[in-house]
Amino acid sequence: MLNMHRPTITDMESESRKVTAGELSRFADLYKVSLEWLTGTETRNTKVKMAARKLGALKDRDLETAMRIIDSLWQRSPKS
């Protein structure tokens, strides 16, 4: 799906190879998350906070997972 060899992925995982901007963008598309979320640079926006209010009935661990999913959506590029 990524058109990358397995050793390339292994090198990225072990941090012996840097990830290019293009590769990062392909990862974001594959995992359907924003680039900001992938690089850990985003902050939660208002809509996420609004959704969070409705998540009160979730158990703590579930809430964490749900919030991660909601966060990852923010500013994702449009689907082609």
Binding site: K32, K54, L58, K59, D62, T65, I69, L73
Partner: protein, 275 residues
């Protein structure tokens, strides 16, 4: 009651209009997972036990999340419910597990609307009437087979037939709900202790697609020349591999079988990809 009725009517109309808009005949089942994919909405199966489903909307993307830990019929129903939130313009919605104490919760309008939308998207009156054929005989086996064809749970179809479509009485509903799944599986496939889902396929399935999971049992197809299935006997097979393939129906014609890991976690786009 009046509020529920009015909202239900309005959502039922919206669901039927939506089906028409998608070119889906009113007497055909709706493949809700594929419908969501065709709408270019991301569909994600998640491992969040206390969540039923959620619809997330941002300016540039839409996503439906469904809890993968529920039975398949409930997953499809939840997906249809969340699609209802999307089509009816409710914006981001989070649906947690229903109150299990048997109390009738005070639901906001959006929830009543999405529920009715899901019911009529998956079980419109003409499709339910058609599936029982001319005899309109509502025995447990026929209802079970119909529920598989429509892609909903056995109990869900019975409740729709009683409460919304008035095809059966309350007493008939109670009688049908008393049947045990194990008894039905034994009478259809001859398997008493079946832990996974059973798919009884007949002529109604020609040209359709089964969304199966590993370990499911499919009755009515030939396993010959099919890499996903292992024959238990001449017409009953077990799903043993992840992937998508066509299989020949015993009654003639073919069906597409897509099989995934059990309780698959991840995006629908990757659900049927072999490891």
């Amino acid at each position: 009651m009046d509020r529920w009725y009015k909202l239900g009517q309005s959502a039922a109309k919206a669901a039927l209009k939506y089906r028409m808009g998608r070119g889906l005949s009113p007497d055909e089942p709706c493949d809700v997972f594929q419908t969501i994919a065709d709408e270019k909405i991301d569909l994600q199966f998640v491992d969040i036990p206390s969540l039923e489903g959620m619809f997330l909307q941002e300016p540039e993307t839409r996503r439906i999340c469904v809890c993968a830990l529920r039975p398949w019929g409930r997953q499809r129903y939840t997906a249809a419910h969340e699609l209802g939130h999307c089509i009816l313009g409710h914006g981001t919605q989070v649906d947690t597990v229903m109150d299990a104490r048997g109390q009738q919760p005070i639901l906001p309008d959006e929830e009543i609307l999405a529920e009715a939308f899901a019911r009529f998207l998956l079980m419109p009156p003409r499709a339910v009437t058609r599936v029982f054929g001319r005899r309109q005989q509502y025995d447990a086996r026929s209802v079970f087979e119909a529920s598989c064809w429509l892609g909903v749970g056995y109990g869900t179809l019975i409740r729709q037939m009683c409460s919304s479509l008035k095809l059966i009485s309350g007493a008939e509903q109670e009688r049908l709900l008393r049947f045990k799944r194990s008894d039905l599986c034994r009478s259809i496939a001859g398997i008493a202790d079946l832990q996974n889902d059973l798919w009884p396929l007949d002529e109604r399935w020609r040209g359709r697609r089964v969304h199966a999971q590993l370990g499911d049992v499919i009755q009515g197809v030939c396993a010959k020349n099919n890499n996903l299935l292992t024959a238990i006997n001449s017409t009953v097979n077990q799903v043993d591999c992840v992937g998508t393939e066509t299989a020949d129906l015993v009654v003639g014609g073919s069906v597409t079988i897509s099989s995934s890991l059990r309780s698959f976690i991840g995006f629908y786009d990757y659900r049927y990809m072999p490891e």
